[in-house]
Amino acid sequence: MEATLNLWLAILACGIVTFLIRLSFIAIHGRVTMPLWFTRALTFVPVAVLSAITLPEILIQNDALNFSLLNPRLLAGIVAVLVAWRTKNILATIAVGMLILLTLQFVMR
């Protein structure tokens, strides 16, 4: 019983921490003025953060780097980049990427 309560409290604390991170700059804006270079640097944030999450997801499997052209995720990822670049369509990118991955996995089995 006490162990379960502790788990719930830990989750609650994680939630509060996450919420405060998200609220941080929204709450202090106006009271603290942001320099121009800072706002400009911020436009690079989503590109950097999401790329840093995405490439390991494509290249690393079972804790090992798979850079071979036989890595179906790499091939599907490359095609998905081209689709995203040409169409700028999120749905098309996901659909084509998944289709190629599943096809390659089926063929290579």
Partner: protein
């Protein structure tokens, strides 16, 4: 646009991303239960924390009886990128009441941020723009709750050959590629990606943060330099 039009524009912009979010939530739910997290707790994490990557990391730590302080620190590090989203959106939300700020901060995620910042960057009538973020955030929230619940109940029956987890990097690719408006952003993305791979071994997903910081600094410096010429 009226507040209602903004709200539904946000919903519509967010809907295509659910193709990536739903498998992600589904896999999270399935994984958490397989690890031995009680169903109620696994679902509570989706509404209390509401941060996919951090929930993935937290689930095995919970079962392993990790000390609460380490668990909280881990979630803090994984979700630290939201501080950067918060800073990026803050100028657009400064006129709002405290309650609006609290609500929108709670709903601030990668996917809601991605569509909102693209919308906010467009010129035009800005009066009801926060409703767009609310519509996008609420849409993502609803799909996230539903997909993790389905994952918790039926996730164990889906064969791993379906590779549903690949939908997540595909979603992020689809968000990032259109943002690469000049060479500086392209180099920033490549450096961040390679950095993420190289630093993958660092504990608690710290590698992402380090790689992203280096790439942001580099992209910023390159853009400044190329603009001056």
């Amino acid at each position: 646009m009226t507040s209602r039009q903004e709200f539904f524009a946000g919903v519509r912009a967010e809907l295509p991303l659910q193709v990536g979010v739903v498998p992600f939530g589904f896999i999270y739910g399935a994984l958490a239960v397989q690890l031995g997290v009680p169903a109620s707790l696994a679902q509570a994490m989706s509404s209390v924390i509401f941060g996919g990557s951090s929930q993935f990391i937290a689930a095995p730590l919970l079962v392993a009886q990790t000390p609460a302080l380490i668990l909280i620190l881990t979630v803090f590090v994984v979700n630290l990128r939201h501080a950067l989203y918060s800073a990026s959106l803050a100028p657009y939300l400064e006129e709002l009441s405290a309650w609006w700020k609290i609500l929108l901060a709670y709903l601030l995620t990668d996917e809601a941020y991605a569509v909102a910042i693209a919308h906010f960057h467009q010129k035009g009538d800005a009066q009801h723009r926060h409703w767009f973020l609310f519509g996008a955030g609420l849409t993502l929230w609803s799909f996230w709750q539903a997909s993790t619940a389905i994952g918790i109940f039926v996730g164990a029956q889906v064969p791993p050959e379906w590779s549903l987890d690949f939908a997540l990097p595909l979603t992020f690719l689809a968000i990032v590629i259109p943002m690469l408006r000049n060479r500086a952003y392209g180099i920033c993305a490549i450096v961040a990606g390679i950095g993420g791979v190289l630093a993958f071994g660092l504990p608690y997903k710290l590698g992402y943060i380090v790689a992203a910081m280096v790439a942001i600094a580099l992209g910023f410096v390159l853009e400044t330099r190329w603009k001056q010429r």
